[in-house]
């Protein structure tokens, strides 16, 4: 028959053993195993960037149509950005004509604080020119979305705009599109497009 002291000893041993097991697992083993968990690897891809005109008269508009997809793992957040170097603002000059992304577009104006370097940290940088960011949060694997814009240049000359796509978490060089080329002020690769705006 078990005495009270035997029972106490058994309970004490069981408590010590279970706590040892719990803290060993929680503090040492599991953190190491979580470090080796698969990190999602989104691969953004712009399958189509169509510009309706290569030359327009000042006062007219041209269209941009973009088809974007994620050919990798699901992204927590994937962005398609169209930035306008020659505009002072998007209002009145850029109109969204087609949009089927899960979330509403994010409009960046000059002076806004925005992430840079593929959101590698929480630091921000001041926006130098306006942009429209279409995004999905989340953006599932192989999901495709479309963005259509009607742009009216603010002044004659060469109208330049940048297009890029970024998948977050930004795991490697395939998590951004394009993967090389010109680097913008956000220290991110961009594809450069231009339209000649002539005086009638």
């Amino acid at each position: 028959m078990m005495t009270a002291s035997n029972k106490t000893i058994i309970i004490a041993v069981a408590i010590i053993a279970s706590l040892t097991f719990y803290f060993t697992l929680s503090v040492f083993y599991l953190p190491d195993s979580y470090q080796s968990l698969k990190t999602p690897r989104p691969i953004p891809f712009l399958s189509e960037v169509k510009i309706s005109e290569s030359m327009i008269h000042f006062g007219n508009s041209f269209d941009i149509e973009i088809t974007a997809t994620n050919t990798g793992d699901a992204a927590d957040h994937q962005i398609v950005s169209v930035a306008f170097l020659n505009l002072t603002q998007t209002e009145g000059f850029v109109q969204i004509t087609k949009y089927d992304f899960p979330q509403s577009p994010f409009l960046i104006q000059v002076g806004d604080e925005i992430n840079y370097d593929y959101a590698s940290s929480e630091d921000t940088i001041t926006a130098q020119y306006p942009a429209i960011e279409a995004y999905g949060r989340p953006w599932k694997s192989n999901a495709t979305y479309h963005l259509g814009l009607k742009v009216t240049p603010e002044e004659p000359g060469t109208f330049v705009f940048f297009v890029k796509s970024v998948g977050l978490p930004h795991t490697d060089n395939l998590s951004h599109f394009p993967s090389d080329g010109l680097i913008d002020y956000q220290r991110e690769f961009v594809k450069v497009y231009s339209v000649n705006v002539t005086v009638p």
Partner: protein, 395 residues
């Protein structure tokens, strides 16, 4: 001079009247209990849905008010309000109303704050756009739910089985009652389980209040109510283990039975799993790790149940405090990340960032966590020993 027959007749009438009064009392008390249960369940539904809503905002950035978490949240408010009405109506019939005054006051104040917070929140949205976790309306709402849940819990405890001795009705319709001397608590299964239902919403709403002042989810276009990262880390290091330990000690101290603390802890873990991990596919593999926290709960339960010495109770508090960092996963990741690692915490990387924090910071935090856990036991003992609603124990 009265005849014997007359005396016997009067005595029978008084006995019948006493039986009817007791019956009415039991009926009213049952209704009151039902009101408390509904209120507790309503607050539990609201606060759990709020936790799910936070997760939903982190993962999906919803742009519509009409989401499932919002629907459940407001359903919980309706259920809680209904429960408070039932409590109020049934309380009026009680013979001894004194012990129910405090619960009712807390419920009335709490529910009033919740009702006011609704339109206040709407107007805040209209004026300032999307708000973060901490905003004046959200704070009033959560504080109101917290007070209402205290009221419901104290109502449930006050309405535990109790046998007043009603003396005969004297002239002037004055009914006196005598209370039996304090007796050792005899455990009743249903009341034990009801205390779990009463304590859970209190725990979750209090956790919500602590998260408001520690999570960096309150920076919006109009206002930045994010807490300073260092303050948030210190606040979380003291607040969460203190709360965890106090609440679980209360769950034990209201019942003095092995198992209730563990059941309360498991229920909390399950709510966290379903509201913060299941919706995020990247956290699903970590559920089994999270559920391991049942071990320190059972250990604390065992220590408290099998030993009444203060020092061992403090050991139980230390155990509970030390597991606070694990119990408050995954949101705690965001708190300490702001202060220590400054990584961008995407929903798919929570487990990774958490594991980095565990490796780099847990050894620094465990001492204060243990101390706060011990303080929680001291606080819990103080509340139990000084709580008037616990003066009348179960027969």
């Amino acid at each position: 001079m009265r005849s014997r027959t007359s005396d016997t007749s009067n005595s029978a009438e008084e006995s019948t009247q006493t039986t009817l009064d007791e019956e009415k009392y039991r009926h009213s008390k049952l209704k009151f209990k039902i009101g408390c249960i509904l209120l507790s369940l309503g607050v539990l539904l609201t606060s759990s849905s709020a936790s799910w809503d936070i997760t939903n905002h982190l993962i999906n950035k919803p742009e519509t008010f009409f989401s499932t978490p919002h629907l459940l949240l407001y359903t919980g408010v309706v259920v809680a309000a209904l429960g408070s009405v039932i409590m109020f109506v049934s309380k009026r019939s009680f013979v001894n109303q004194e012990k129910f005054k405090l619960p009712m006051r807390l419920v009335v104040i709490g529910i009033s704050m919740v009702v006011i917070a609704g339109p206040f929140d709407y107007n805040w949205h209209v004026a300032f756009g999307l708000d973060g976790l901490l905003s004046p309306s959200h704070f009033i709402l959560t504080l109101g739910l917290f007070l209402a849940s205290i009221g419901a819990l104290s109502g449930l405890v006050s309405a535990r089985d109790y046998s007043p001795l009603l003396t005969t009705q004297k002239e002037g319709n004055q009914i006196e009652q005598e209370v039996k001397p304090k007796q050792r608590v005899v455990l009743l299964g249903m009341d034990n389980l009801l205390s779990v239902i009463g304590i859970l919403p209190l725990w979750i709403t209090a956790t919500g209040l602590l998260y408001m002042f520690s999570l960096p989810f309150s920076n919006t276009q109009s206002f930045d109510f994010n807490p300073d990262p260092t303050f948030a880390a210190i606040f979380a290091t003291i607040g969460f283990p203190l709360l965890l330990s106090t609440i679980l000690y209360l769950s034990y101290g209201l019942n003095y039975r092995f198992g209730i603390l563990s059941i309360t802890g498991v229920a909390y873990l399950l709510i966290t799993i379903f509201t913060t991990m299941v919706p995020n596919e990247f956290l699903v593999p970590t559920i089994s790790f999270y559920f391991l926290s049942i071990i320190p709960f059972v250990v604390a339960d065992t220590i408290l149940s099998y030993s009444k010495t203060k020092s061992l109770q403090y050991v139980a508090g230390g155990v509970l405090g030390s597991c606070s960092f694990m119990v408050h996963y995954p949101f705690i990741t965001y708190v300490y990340n702001e202060a220590f690692t400054h990584d961008v915490v995407f929903p798919s990387l929570i487990a990774l960032v958490y594991s980095e924090l565990m490796i780099t910071t847990y050894s620094l935090l465990v001492g204060p966590l243990i101390i706060a856990g011990i303080l929680g036991i001291i606080l819990g003992r103080y509340i139990i020993s000084h709580s008037k609603i616990l003066e009348q124990k179960i027969e």
